[in-house]
Amino acid sequence: MSNEHGHGDGHHEPQSFIWKYVFSVDHKVIGIQYMITSFLFLLVGFTMMLLMRWQLAMPSPGDDFDPEKLGMMRTILASVFGENNMPYGYMAPEFYNQLGAMHGTIMIFLGVVPLGVAAFGNYVLPLQIGADDMAFPRLNMASYWTFLVGGIVMLSSFLAPGGAAQSGWTSYAPLSVAAPPGQTIWLIAMVIIIASSLLGSVNFIVTTLNMRAKGMTLGRMPVFVWAQLVTAVLLLLAFPVLQAGAMLQLLDRVAETSFYIPKDMFYGGVAFPRAGGGSPILWQHLFWFLAHPEVYVLLLPAMGIVSEIIATNTRKPLFGYKELVGSMILIGALSFVVWAHHMFVSGMRTSLANLFVTTTMTISVPSVAILTCLLLSLRGGQIRFNTPMLFAVAFLPMFGIGGLTGLPLGFAPTDLYLHDTYYVIGHFHYVVAPGSLVALIGATYYWFPKMFGRRMNESLGKLHFWATIIPINFVFFPMLIQGMWGMQRRLADPTLQWHNLPVQGWSMMIGIAAAVLFLAQIPFFFNFFYSIWYGEEVGENPWEATTLEWACPSPPPHGNFAAPPVVYRGPYEYSVPGHDSDYWPQDEAEPEAA
């Protein structure tokens, strides 16, 4: 047998700084690299959004406008972004479109997904299954560096003539084919980011299936690991289709093909120089075939995280472990057959629309099942309201609003009215921002002690929580109201259309709330970096949790576990009658056996 080549012998710990922290193959270092990078991208995306909200709060000059007497903000904005982008501090529509497209792209592909999947997945998943590293450590490193290159290429598109991509994060053809060169850079960056994601998902799947510790059966895996496994399968199978779509769009732009260009198309008053015959709807199909599973890629890790935090802090087993896992698998499977509900207004046969309405309503069943399981898990628990738990509990109603507001969009008749209004923006932001992102911030507080051996400050954490969760609702809830009034999205100046005027007033409040939300992140970033060096030191298991990541030192050394752990029981054995403490770690041997 080959025992000498078994556990922990994959690679040795490097000594020099550059190989230990920069070009590291250790899943923990790569996880932290992903975490810090995606926080930076989230900050960039947030800043873009603030600029857009500034514009939307006061979109056009009033009657008393005097270019000689600009306010301080407008003078600064005009000089920072130039007279082309922000003349007199008012945003040019082209610049607004660039920020809109880049905000969406950055937040989704460079912010939330890398944070939820790559950062926490990389750091926590191998620990939770009792592995010493990922299955392919060098592939893991390649995945991070590819991701970083993709992100930098994406940002660099602002330097292209005509600016960054401005066709929305959805890049609908044929406008995206006719757009300035920034769109080409967007497509190239997407191809790079997708390649990085594929490397990661292969790694996650193989690691989860192959590297579980002795006794860690599939039925004993923590919900977070299940969530990551389903997510990895979604990324593996859905992303290549967008890869294909992006290649076709790239060829449409650079090789003068006409996959998405209809016959005899006119653009800007002149005939568009292509053979034609293609279909813009084809792009929408290829795009949404990825982008709907992508919604669950944003969501499933968050659900896994919330399950972990709730189980630990209610001191009782999760309600319905099997239902949670089964629902996640069902969501994963169904998410491949709902994509066209994004396209009800694109023109679709009624029978086909009915099919997608049905699948969309069906997928809400497992989503509600998960939410119900998590809600019932709270019942009768001795809840510890620490910072991670606050964020995890807040996820439930926030995702609830996000999910429920999605139902009218899933029905074709109501969608026809609500489509392309602020209602849609309110809906999906409730899913992603107060939903997923709030859970991911909770995960940062929850796993921070494991990553750095110190705890983040609780008072600052609670301040951060309340200062986040209140304004974030003032940002997104008014959008639902504006949308139901029919206010259209994607407009740099909605006041140009009369029907948007009655609810324009809300935009000022949204702008203020967004600025407060931005300021509320200062305590978080301060807390994060302060606690790395000065936080309260903690031992292996500060939360008294049961899963395996708490069975190794904080932070875990290279190779993670001193000896390969053995798993004796399910992941959430809290308050077991007859056991001497209220938690029973997965790797603790039975008293008789010990």
């Binding site: 299936l209 289709v241 890869q243 294909a244 053979a275 084809l282």
Partner: protein, 193 residues
């Protein structure tokens, strides 16, 4: 050169490399699947999809290419068998045959591309041309990648690196069969239909 260690035992009983290769191929299926469905949808749905007459397509050459690629898949299997038998000379011979098959395919393909381009089937001439060069072009990139992979496997294998662990030969083989399979699908849908 020191031989690779035997594959460590895993929970599924399938080595990391092999499971990873299968996962990678699943994503490749979705990539080609996406492109091929786009082709099928536009070919059946667009009213401006002109299919060139079959005589222009050069079916005999493409048939020859299909034969070359399938044969190289066979020699790849034989190379793996030779590795299992520890017969390095035979392994080298069959790997070289496989690589030769890859090169043969590329040579025929480059002649075909040139010929078609001159006949007016270009990437931007019409939808069929666009799909033809996109689908076969992506496949050619995969063939080139496969040839590079084969050279690595040949060089490592003939220096005795796979004495205890022939996973890499097997994974390279899986990939090569996949590339072969893609061509077996592209051939009828582009040349024969």
């Amino acid at each position: 050169m020191t031989p690779l260690p035997e594959a460590a035992p895993t929970r599924t009983g399938i080595s990391h490399a092999k499971l990873g290769t299968w996962a990678f191929l699943a994503s490749e299926i979705m990539l080609f699947g996406g492109l091929i469905s786009a082709y099928v949808i536009l070919r059946s749905g667009s009213s401006h999809f002109y299919v060139p007459p079959r005589a222009m397509m050069g079916v005999p050459l493409a048939t020859l290419n299909t034969f070359i690629l399938i044969s190289s898949s066979v020699t790849m299997v034989l190379a793996l068998v030779a590795m299992h038998e520890d017969n390095l000379a035979k392994f080298k011979r069959f790997m070289l045959c496989t690589i030769g098959g890859g090169f043969g395919f590329l040579i025929v393909k480059s002649y075909e591309y040139q010929h078609k381009w001159h006949e007016g089937i270009t990437i931007s001439s019409n939808l069929f041309g666009s799909f033809y060069y996109t689908l076969t072009g992506l496949h050619v990139i995969h063939v080139i990648g496969g040839i590079v992979l084969m050279f690595v496997v040949l060089s490592q294998g003939s220096r005795g690196m796979y004495a205890k662990n022939s996973d890499r030969v097997e994974c390279a083989g899986l990939y090569w069969h996949f590339v072969d399979l893609v061509w077996v699908i592209l051939f009828p849908i582009l040349y024969l239909l």
